[in-house]
Amino acid sequence: MKKHNTQIIIIGGGLAGLEAAKWLVQYHYKVVVMEQEKIAGGHVVNWHSLYPGGIRGDELINNIFLTKDSMVQILTNQRVTKVEKRDNFFWVHTSQGERLFAEAVLLTTGFKLFNAALKEELGYGIFPNVVTSAEVEQILASRMKPPWQLPPRKVAIIHCVGSRDMKAGNMYCSKVCCMAGVKTAIHFNQQYPMCKVYNFYMDLRMHGNSYEALYLKAQTEYGVQFIRGRVSELSADQYGRLVLKSEDTLLGKPLKLTVDVVVLMVGMEQRKGLVVSDRGKELAAFDGQHFYEPLNAYDDAHKTCLPGLFLGGACKGPMSATEVIVDARAAVQVIDQYLQNN
């Protein structure tokens, strides 16, 4: 079979990359996954739980691994610096100076988290008890030591940090933080039963029936308070507790709240540092300033302006884990179709 010799390189060994690899192997292609970290699994592997069902992140990744085929080759500690299109094939360059041949390339580079220190008024990096959503996931999953010694009694979860914000340079909604905020509120309550959680949001975007149900659960079972208002000032009192200032925009009144822990729901950003070139010419569409744009958002949602180069997962824009899986599988179909026709 010709298929076995056809090499596909997947750049990024996160959820999307692994899921795509798993299915491409089912189609009898030779697949290489390039991962820059020590282990594959991406952000998801550190996640305490994934909404809506609450599966652990590492568990989900393991599920994919269990079905892995010997044909999947995962190269870790490999940072790809450049994807170079030649006539009908690609050269994929790594930071170690190696060059790999591929007939099709799938970009599943995912996202990077917004650097919360840039919103300095929210005190990240200044007050130890201000943590990001990513850190909270690790803390709740016992992968990281929490900065607090005593169980927190009051927690504020601030949505939209680095999303929908011209000042942060990100004019889009990061999509997952609304749900993740609700989920985190529930988990804080589960882990610290005496804890009272306040969610500060701009809009709560609960698209999906099970999402709404989770929101309801947070309200009724865990007594999570939802306050519509953007927090933009944070200071510490003399005991080191954090004082938030906000407007309760539904009441039109000023609001002050003193809490032990502040969680910043950080948004998603495109990664930088990957160069895509077509016959020596660098393509501006891949400069990392914005999420990668496919040919269109409908029936060519995985193709790029460069035939043979495909997109999958959150490198196209913020996506939840469930959407990433669906998207990665769909990408597999498109790649297969392309290689069959060539």
């Binding site: 840039l118 008024e121 200044i126 340079g169 003399q238 080191g240 507790r241």
Partner: protein
């Protein structure tokens, strides 16, 4: 009586000019406040007047300040001013020596060559003739630079060309016509009667070859007189009003009259003293980006004609770079602020006092971070660390609520309301009664320092305070090898004159490097409080230019001392942008760590 009809345009123009000067200047003297009049009375017969005369010679004739910034332009101004001045004086003397009568008609020295052609062998005649030609040559030399500057500004080191309004061009054209016409008229007369100097004589000899040249003589003298007349008529309405007004300005200034928010006359005097030289155009950060034409040269020009636009008033960063280079030292920002005030309807301060800030006990040392300080909690945190390290007891004024210093209101043009807010803050500070008030915001510092009456409190900016602590050895610091560059905030540097204290601190903790534009010429970060109409893309462009300028010094970190600068510069920076205090805490030496521990606040406790 020497007379010819062609002197009429000149005389009419001159009389008109004198009448206009009277119309403009007399109300100024009337509108001087009582204190200002008293000041003039006290100082006019004193050494200050002598100083003024010296300055008038240096600035109005020699144009020393322009010379220092741009020698070719300085020469241009010098040759016009000094050349013309000496031409008038020499001409007057020449006529005096010839007639032995000081009361010759007004126009007589000007058209001397016409009335007394040829040689007359009076005492010193040949010296006068050569001297007059020399001065004319000086003026023509300056004029050629002026022409070059108009056509190719880059050739004389001017980056931007001033786009003058129509009436100014009329005045300019008549000014440019005066001296070539004089040269021609004199030369033609000389060609017929002889008796010219090295310039008119030579040209006259050449022109004598042209057949029928003598018939053009009356035409040229008429043209010369008309050019003079035109210039005098245009002058009161054009930028050339600076010629007489600058003399008055220097006198007033030496006599102690200041241009401030209440001064009436002085603003007008400064307004008309602007020569529209365009120095401000070169340094305005908004102009570097080609964003807007609100620089003093344009703003004042429009103001003279009553054509100010909103962008003139609110699209300005109030950074003060223009004031720093102005050869006439016009306080454009003050004038601008007053104009804002005039445009806004009389806004009376709202009824009722602001909520009283609960007293926070007596304290010798009071800290104030201001509104902006709340947006950069790290600066406050750093100050806490430093002051604990130094073992000082202190309190934060803004612990119980947020009070504004009123400067933003003032800068927006609502001066009275701004002052009312300041009064409120002043009362609060007085109630607490600290010995020292330290602000971490140069905007508040500038406002409190300038306008608040706090006789028993020393107001310091935190860089001054920290520099003092280091100097007194109450704060021990260690130097690292990092290259640090200091960004002078406009409100701290140019407007409050604090340049050295922050640099002293940086010298103690690292290697201080300087960018090309520093201290008085430092650039605005782009976020200036007064830039009400400057939009985001412009701010981003400004802060990028500033950041690049700072980093051209090879610095690894940008240090500043203003929460607003820190926030604006830091937004998209690829190097750390920190406050002086934030950088300082990385360099505190461990030797007095013990005391720091003792003073640290109680252990973190959670809400129960």
């Amino acid at each position: 009586m020497q007379f010819d009809w062609f002197v009429i345009p000149f005389v009419v123009g001159l009389v008109f000019l004198i009448g206009q000067l009277g119309r403009i200047y007399v109300p100024w003297f009337i509108k001087l406040s009582r204190e200002e009049k008293e000041m003039i009375r006290r100082h006019w017969w004193s050494r200050r007047t002598l100083g003024a005369v010296k300055e008038i010679i240096q600035e109005c004739l020699l144009h020393r300040r322009i010379f220092r910034i741009n020698p070719p332009l300085g020469f241009m101004h010098l040759s016009f001013a000094l050349g013309w001045f000496l031409l008038i004086i020499t001409g007057k003397l020449e006529a005096l020596f010839y007639t032995h009568d000081a009361l010759n008609p007004l126009w007589y020295p000007l058209f001397f060559k016409y009335f007394e052609p040829g040689r007359h062998a009076f005492f010193g005649e040949s010296v006068f003739i050569q001297l007059m030609d020399f001065w004319l040559l000086v003026i023509l030399g300056g004029q050629s630079i002026a022409v070059v500057k108009r056509l190719w500004p880059g050739k004389v080191g001017a980056k931007k060309k001033v786009q003058h309004a129509v009436y100014n061009r009329v005045a300019l054209m008549s000014l440019w016509a005066i001296f070539p016409l004089r040269l021609l008229a004199e030369s033609v007369t000389v060609s017929y009667y002889g008796g010219g100097g090295f310039l008119t004589g030579t040209l006259g000899t050449l022109l004598a070859e042209v057949p029928g040249i003598e018939r053009s003589q009356p035409v040229l003298w008429w043209a010369y007189s008309i050019a003079l007349g035109c210039f005098f008529v245009a002058m009161p309405f054009s930028r050339y009003m600076h010629i007489p007004t600058e003399v008055l300005l220097i006198l007033f200034r030496r006599w102690g009259i200041k241009n401030n928010l209440v001064a009436h006359t002085m603003s007008e005097v400064e307004l008309l003293s602007c020569s529209a030289c365009g120095m401000c155009l070169e340094v305005c950060p908004l102009n570097e980006q080609e964003l807007v034409a609100s620089q003093p040269v344009y703003f004042l020009e429009r103001l003279r004609m009553g054509w100010t636009k909103p962008s003139d008033l609110w699209k300005c960063l109030n950074c003060g770079r223009c004031e720093a280079v102005c050869p006439v030292l016009v306080k454009a920002n003050t004038i601008r602020l007053k104009e804002k005030q005039k445009v806004l309807p009389a806004i009376t301060p709202a009824e009722g006092e602001r909520v009283k800030i609960p007293a926070i006990g007596q304290g010798r040392l009071l800290l104030y971070s201001g509104c902006m300080g709340k947006l950069v909690p790290s600066v406050r945190q750093a100050m806490d660390v430093v002051l604990r390290h130094a073992g000082l007891d202190y309190q934060w004024l803004d612990d119980r609520g947020n009070i504004c210093c009123g400067r933003p209101l003032l800068l927006s043009g609502q001066v009275d309301r701004g002052m009312a807010v300041l009064k409120q803050l002043e009362n609060t500070i007085r109630e607490i009664g600290p010995d020292i008030l330290v602000t971490t915001c140069p905007i508040c510092y500038n406002m409190i320092n300038k306008y608040a009456a706090l006789p028993f409190t020393e107001v310091l900016h935190h860089t001054e305070f920290l520099a003092g602590l280091i100097h007194d050895n109450r704060l021990k610091v260690e130097a690292h090898k990092e290259k640090l560059v200091f960004h002078d905030p406009c409100e701290l540097g140019r407007q409050s004159g604090i340049y050295e204290q922050p640099r002293e601190i940086l010298r103690c903790i690292g290697r201080l490097v300087e960018p090309q534009d520093n201290k008085a010429m430092s650039r605005c970060c782009g976020g200036a409080l007064s830039g009400l109409m400057v939009d985001m893309s412009e701010k981003v462009a400004l802060s990028e230019a500033t950041r690049n300028s700072l980093l051209s010094s090879g610095a690894q970190k940008i240090i500043t001392a203003c929460p607003l600068c820190r926030k604006t510069l830091g937004r998209q920076a690829n190097v750390p942008v920190l406050d002086v205090a934030e950088e300082l805490i990385r360099h505190l030496s461990l030797s007095n760590q013990e005391t720091a521990k003792e003073k640290s606040p109680p252990e973190r406790a959670f809400i129960s």
